[in-house]
Symmetry: C2
Subunit: 384 residues, 2 copies
């Protein structure tokens, strides 16, 4: 079959290649410790699963409204209104429920990007960001975030990158892969440029020092601020596939039309379960947060002992983006070496863009025991 240009060119997720090689080794009987995966190791809290069970028993198994059930859209609006200091309150009409956070970003870009339009993205960044933009004919424009600047997206550099073609600035705080929060002052400054800002808030709630701001808190000074969020990370619901968009009303209809055509609606009973997630499991998410924090502290300390550079303490998400330049300038090769020889899965910095070269991302979405063992293996490997 003749494959399309896009089908040929779209890059895979390198971390998936690592994961799949790791699984191959496991099938051969090897014991592998997974510090590469960006997925909570916890099971979804019981109250959420219970609500899904009830919905299934009740027969909530049909298509829903293409924008999601009105009840869930109300709950998401309420959740944002309660959690953040919003001068402009969110209405259910601003909310779109999607089959995951990834499709949500696809829909946002689909609604705003024309050919050759630019989107400003940090480098390093979540690997898929530029692939969305390129798939839709747009151009990612990278702003480097440097360790020396605390991996912060510098507003001055962002401003310098804005052109007539810039359709949006994409921010992500807490960030994947760096685990860092953008300072409120810099977020405010970025919002003030008047360029649309898409804020990926998927790691909100997973914050261990300070607080994550929503871009919507700057609605008075910004305009066209779009939130991307979902249930995967905070609520340990990766396998459920549910996300959402909060956007200004002019974006709703174009996105709805795309959903009607390409998705029809999100899963019906998963939407029911999401209502429980927003209302009934604060205790469970707080427990998970505390456990992540414990692992985070341990991991940072041990990685420093082993010789990795961590000048900026990551305080959000569940990642440590460690400087490995002392050991390598080829993070891809290094990550596979660690996998093959130390039997530990880690993600090479290069997966996150050229700005990530020389770094390794360690995920602490794994038990303290596994983290301890995994880092001990890496220590022994490096000592050889």
């Amino acid at each position: 079959m003749k494959i399309s240009r896009i089908g040929k060119e779209i890059p895979p997720f390198i971390v998936m290649d690592i994961l799949e090689r790791a699984q191959e080794l496991e099938r051969q009987g090897e014991n592998i410790i997974h510090l590469e995966v960006g997925e909570p190791d916890f099971e979804t809290p019981k109250c959420i699963r219970k609500r899904a069970l009830d919905a299934l028993k009740k027969g909530i198994t049909h298509y829903t409204h293409s924008l999601g059930t009105y009840s869930l859209r109300c709950e998401i609006a309420k959740y944002y209104n309660d959690k953040y200091k919003l001068s402009v309150k969110i209405k259910p009409e601003n909310v779109i429920v999607t089959s995951g956070t990834s499709p949500a970003l696809f829909l946002i870009f689909g609604a705003i990007l024309d050919r050759n339009d630019e989107v400003i993205i940090s480098n390093p960044h979540y690997p898929c960001y530029p692939n969305f933009v390129k798939f839709l004919g747009g151009k990612p424009k990278f702003v480097f975030v440097r360790e020396e600047e605390g991996f912060q997206l510098n507003p001055q550099k962002v401003k310098e990158s804005v052109t007539k073609k810039t359709k949006a600035i994409l921010i992500n705080s807490p960030a994947n892969p760096t685990g860092n929060l953008l300072s409120p002052e810099w977020m405010e400054e970025i919002a003030s440029f008047g360029t649309p800002v898409i804020s990926d808030e998927i790691y909100h709630g997973l914050v261990y020092k300070g607080e994550a701001q929503s871009i919507l808190e700057f609605a008075e000074i910004g305009r066209e601020l779009i939130v991307l969020n979902g249930f995967s990370k905070l609520f340990a619901m990766t396998g459920w596939r549910l996300g959402y968009i909060i956007a200004t009303e002019d974006l709703i209809r174009p996105i709805q039309k795309m959903i009607q055509n390409f998705f029809i609606s999100p899963n019906a009973f998963v939407q029911e379960a999401a209502i429980a997630a927003l209302n009934e499991c604060e205790k469970e998410t707080e427990e998970m947060r505390k456990i992540y924090d414990e692992r985070r502290k341990f991991m940072i300390e041990r990685l420093r002992e082993i010789g990795f550079g961590i000048t900026v303490e990551p305080t959000g998400a569940f990642y440590v983006f460690a400087n490995a330049k002392k050991f390598t300038n080829d993070s891809y090769k290094f990550a596979f070496e660690i996998l093959e020889k130390a039997k530990v899965g880690v993600t090479p910095g290069i997966d996150f863009g050229s700005g990530g070269e020389g770094y390794i991302r360690f995920s602490y979405a794994n038990s303290l025991d596994n983290i301890e063992e995994g880092l001990a293996r890496i220590e022994r490997f490096l000592a050889r």
Copy 2:
């Protein structure tokens, strides 16, 4: 916000507009009978729901392999190998599980369409087909299927439409909106052209006379035959969002990369439930099929009595595509009149392309009582 060209131009699903207007009327206290919806009225069979409940209890709530769980891919391969006379057996490696049949089609087109590539599509057709193609920069090329030819996709006309730019012929049997099956001889002829064929087999199993052939039965004479299917219709699982692709191996990796980027994986526990669907609910699907058949016969008879033209008896899916030219040459206006005045939702033929103008699609995915009442209302309305 400046909306992209695609965001502006992509058409909505007209049937959704009808449905949403119907729901508005219902909120105002009106009783509306829904014969517009392409969705089984049945609840998902218990054995399927039970498997989902078990999976949820077991904590199967994490990401799966991007192509779907290997166990489900095996079951889908087995299902096709058992159900159809395949000279080339399907391997699990040919199967990709997706978050619905709509995203599946999006992925197939994404993997094969370059700018200005053409896809041959029947007219009338499922409304979204051309929108997928156009979104990806391709061009739909329509072949009219005429009532006088039994709404059959004529291979000769298909052949005449093939150009150097043609990347695929899209077929759909049983078809939406006509409810007709493509004859084995004509399907074979279309497969023999050497142009890739994408076969949307979502209505397979919902057949009341004869049998639906899979395009894969012609693998010896055809090449690059791709199947699109899912669990929504036969298993009454619309709200679950699960579909699949069966394709030649060269297509798997490009599609997988798109999934990794834009979807990550399908829902984990829904994939478990799908295994039960394929193995444990033949009795339930057979019962549903019998009930549909009863409704089908009733609906055809009554529509003829009322004065609609049905020269070709629809024998698949759950639609009757009735000639309404006696009443109107503006099916859109007519459908809204029927909704507003007779309080019955129906789908205008124009929703399915210019070839559908003058027709109305009636769905019998509703109870016999409701169908009876709905058609009586329409009869009274037309008698005025």
